[in-house]
């Protein structure tokens, strides 16, 4: 914990969750760049970052598999807090207030808001689709064992789910930039009480009932 951390900062992400998140994030960037190289000819040059076309084809599935394995840990850690509740649907229905920073009009938010929860499950669905379809089209190890019509469908599913996932992650990254303090929360683990009060008031109440204000050793 840095010396400049205010004494009343609230711990939002433990070092374990942060490590897990950034392992997923780094492998996502690599998987996305290598995948985009094979997604559209205009981006084939991205393969040069990985040592050329054949190396891109060799590395991409291993990077993707690594991402999915570390994502399992992250998903398990945040699963319960991401189950959608009626208040979340109300939050999502008021998306105009959300994007216009009129947070005071929204229902109180727990550890995650409706948008985060929805995004989480979009990512989970894409991850499952990507892993299954990715194994079906993985050459030279697996694709040879599957019928060609299935490989065609898997190729399409892989491309569609990768597209959805990349769009979802762009939204995720922008939301982190937009809501100031979010990046710090995921990099250093803590948020200010005001941040928790403003963005996740139900979570704020929940944790401060137990502990008024302190950050433990991390």
């Amino acid at each position: 914990m840095s010396d400049s951390e205010p004494r009343d900062a609230l711990l939002r992400y433990t070092s374990g969750v942060r490590t897990n998140h950034w392992l997923v994030a780094l492998s996502f960037v690599l998987a996305a760049l290598s995948g985009l190289a094979m997604f559209h000819p205009a981006l084939f040059w991205l393969g040069n970052l990985f040592g050329g076309g054949p190396w891109t084809r060799i590395l991409h599935p291993f990077i993707g598999l690594f991402m999915m394995i570390v994502f399992l840990g992250l998903a398990a850690a945040v699963w319960d807090d991401n189950l959608l509740r009626p208040a979340d649907w109300q939050w999502l229905r008021q998306w105009r207030d959300v994007v216009n920073n009129r947070e005071e009009r929204l229902p109180e938010v727990g550890r995650y808001n409706g948008g985060q929860k929805l995004l989480f499950f979009v990512i989970v669905v894409c991850a499952i689709a990507l892993v299954l379809s990715g194994i079906l089209i993985w050459r030279p190890y697996f694709a040879g064992s599957f019928p060609i019509p299935l490989i065609r469908f898997a190729s399409l599913l892989h491309a569609v789910s990768a597209f959805v996932l990349i769009c979802a992650i762009i939204v995720h990254i922008y939301a982190a930039i937009w809501v100031k303090g979010s990046v710090h929360a995921m990099v250093r683990g803590t948020v200010t009480p005001g941040w928790a009060w403003k963005h996740h008031r139900a979570w704020f109440r929940q944790i401060t009932h137990a502990a008024h204000s302190r950050t433990g050793p991390d």
Binding site: T14, F44, D81, I148, K180, W197, R205, H212
Partner: protein, 320 residues
């Protein structure tokens, strides 16, 4: 084949025109395979091995003259033998020389993500340029005829080149040269269609009233065509596809959806940027911090509602 060609009409994963200043004024070429004249001698298979310096592994007998059992990275053409009992109860031994059909609208080329790994020449020949191949196998998914094979040794895709190297210098493909019965002929596609029409007429006069030419329109026609005695039932010939076309999945995967998807991704990022410009960041101000401090100060520890267990199990640091 790595010779520079100036007569390329299609190039995989390339959105600008390929070098095509040289035109095929004689029109496309075609190989015509007359199944009714084929005696299954496999001279074409041997000629293909010899010209292309290919030696496949010695296979094992699986109860058919067909050898090896399937096309491989080192068997680019294969005689497929089918035993068909016709409605009269007679046995017909149908032999079909299998290999790349050189589609006018090649599914392999459409599916290939690597620029220049698959090209189509003005004469219609579809050729793999293995030095550009990345081994992803998308051509296998793209092909409606199940032709390309990925080598287990070098992980490149291989198939019949229609002897593009020989044709480029005015020779006929090696298999044509070796055929002893005239079942294989080669020339311009127009000439081959005329020749086929004569053969079909002859076959019809001999009782094969369903004889016809196999030049499937679903892939824009092919530069390898068959004369079939049973053109109404191509599947009799070791599962020759009846109406081949590039699969819907491949067209959705590789068609206009790709640039649209790319644009959608870029637009998502651009939308974020303009949200930032128009609405701006969602920031916590002093009033929020003050409200939070007030809330913290006004929460006596003794009055916790039951069940307000505080921090989640994942945040042990927040426990008192």
């Amino acid at each position: 084949m790595a010779l520079q060609s100036l007569d390329i009409v299609r190039r995989s994963a390339t959105s600008t025109p390929p070098p095509d200043v040289r035109t095929s004024y004689a029109g496309g070429v075609a190989k015509l395979i007359d199944t009714s004249k084929c005696i299954g001698c496999k001279a074409c298979q041997v000629a293909c091995m010899e010209w292309n310096d290919l030696r496949d592994e010695i296979g094992s007998n699986f109860g058919s003259y067909q050898n090896p059992a399937d096309l491989t990275d080192r068997t680019w053409t294969l005689m497929r033998f089918s035993e068909y009992e016709n409605p009269k109860g007679d046995l017909e031994w149908l032999i079909r020389k299998d290999g790349c059909m050189h589609c006018d609208d090649p599914g392999c080329l459409k599916a290939c993500p690597s620029p220049g790994a698959i090209v189509q020449y003005a004469n219609g020949i579809v050729d793999f340029q293995e030095e550009n191949c990345i081994g992803c196998g998308y051509c296998v998914a793209g092909c409606p005829f199940n032709i390309p094979r990925i080598s287990r040794r070098d992980h490149k895709a291989y198939k019949c080149t229609l002897c593009s190297d020989r044709v480029a210098v005015g020779l006929e493909p090696a298999c044509i040269k070796a055929c002893p019965t005239g079942a294989l002929v080669f020339g311009t596609k127009e000439d081959m269609k005329e020749h086929a029409a004569e053969r079909i007429e002859d076959l019809k006069s001999r009782g094969f009233d369903k004889a016809g030419l196999y030049d499937p329109a679903g892939v824009g026609g092919t530069h390898v065509m068959y004369v079939l005695h049973h053109a109404d039932q191509p599947a009799l010939y070791a599962g020759l596809v009846e109406n081949p076309q590039i699969s819907l999945a491949v067209r959705l995967w590789k068609g206009k959806t790709k640039p649209l998807a790319l644009a959608a991704m870029a637009l998502t990022a651009v939308a974020g940027f303009f949200h930032f410009v128009r609405v701006g960041r969602n920031e916590v101000d002093e009033r929020d911090e003050a409200a939070a401090r007030q809330a913290l100060a006004g929460t006596p520890r003794g009055t916790l509602p039951p069940g307000a267990g505080g921090a989640t199990g994942r945040n042990p640091e927040n426990r008192p």
